[in-house]
Symmetry: C2
Subunit: 221 residues, 2 copies
DNA sequence: TTGTCAACTGTCAGAGGCTGACACTAATCT
DNA sequence: AGATTAGTGTCAGCCTCTGACAGTTGACAA
């Protein structure tokens, strides 16, 4: 597989150099962000560590923010790929559910291409606890939601502007995803398996949570 | 009622002056934002229109952003007030549902205290279409979600960290709220009633949307 | 090999958001 | 009326981000 990945960036010296600076910038940024915090890290510090000009940084990343979301970016597109792969006869909600669970099974390898799982956890906590990054994160999730809704509507042959169900189902689904993400970030289990377990458990709570009376029947957790 | 509101800001000359500058800044900001757009409006333009220093603007508002959310702010706290007022025997989801519907019934008057419904619609559209504002908006929604979850958990005597259902239910609920908000912003019906109708219809779709197979039974819309 | 082209980078200058320090004015309290 | 305190203006500066222009270096063909 390592070979397969290398084959994905095979080209000449120029491209390799480019990739190297990008990686260097990313790692310097991750390092500084997680040690001193996002706000307290200036772009100047990052470029000093890599010894390039500030202008170069902004040619690789549209903003300081963008650099902070490299890992998330990879995870999101991996999930989307899994969702596109679901068999057409699965019901919408099941397709979404199975896509995350599949994605979370092998997400570790996706992360390792850029950083480490442990670093990702630290970055994730930083995003959740830095107001401006949290805001950006939520906007990214919202974009993702939109793509999912279009995809689901496509599977069912529906128009998202005509039928409310795609958007409504996706909204409920990704609401739960966010909650599990938060919980994972706050917990002490940093491994990827615990994220999968959490996701499964919480998705199964959607039905009961919307049911009328919580004081009877279905017990908690 | 107008008297009741005046009684809410009764104090001396100093406070009245303060309120006047704040209102003036807000109105100048709304005006410029909706005519030329948020990004293209500089803080200097706003303060020039009111004839105060830039420093003064930043004493009233922590950021240019904050000024853009004054109306949203009022609406959100009004909804929370309605939710707190719901009878204790209502089921969680019903309480949320009824709280919004009640709030949307009289939200017009809340808005009129600051601006007009029409201006609010223009501001809302601007927020949704300006990436940085959309991000901020979503973060605010996320804060609100958190408050709702605590409130609901309190009603049911639960701990949000122990039982997943409060957060899950709130996540699903506010996911739907966002979808309706977006739809209202895109539609041509600018009145507040249409928002109420939309909300009711979409909340009723939550159950069907999560049900297994969309190709049978429940027809669209 | 060499020359041309295109891509990548650095430098410089500047706009715009935002903050701290300090002095000044005007409302409030005694 | 005088002391106190809140609100404001000015100034100086940091940081993110952008445009313009020039220098450098890999790619590619003659």
């Amino acid at each position: 597989m390592t070979d397969g990945q290398r084959a994905a960036h095979p080209t000449g010296l120029r491209e390799r150099k480019k990739r190297r600076t990008r990686d260097a910038l990313l790692h310097a940024a991750f390092d500084l962000f997680t040690t001193q915090g996002y706000e307290k890290t200036t772009v100047d510090e990052i470029v000093d560590a890599v010894e390039v000009s500030q202008r170069t940084f902004f040619r690789y990343f549209a903003s300081k923010e963008e650099a902070a979301f490299a890992i998330q970016e990879a995870m999101e597109s991996y999930f989307l790929a899994q969702l596109r792969r679901r068999p057409a006869d699965e019901a919408p909600f099941d397709a979404m559910r199975n896509a995350v669970l599949c994605a979370w099974n092998s997400i570790g390898e996706v992360i390792e291409e850029i950083a480490t799982v442990e670093l990702h956890l630290r970055m994730y906590r930083m995003i959740e606890s830095t107001p401006s990054l949290l805001a950006a994160h939520l906007r990214r999730c919202s974009d993702l939601e939109n793509q999912i809704a279009l995809l689901i509507a496509g599977r069912e042959g529906l128009d998202v502007d005509e039928d409310p169900r795609p958007r409504v189902a996706v909204a409920a689904f990704s609401g739960v995803m966010r909650v599990t993400g938060q919980l994972w970030g706050r917990g002490r289990d940093g491994d990827v398996d615990s994220l999968r377990v959490l996701t499964e458990a919480y998705l199964d709570q959607l039905g009961p949570a919307l049911a009328g009376n919580w004081r009877t029947g279905t017990g908690p957790v």
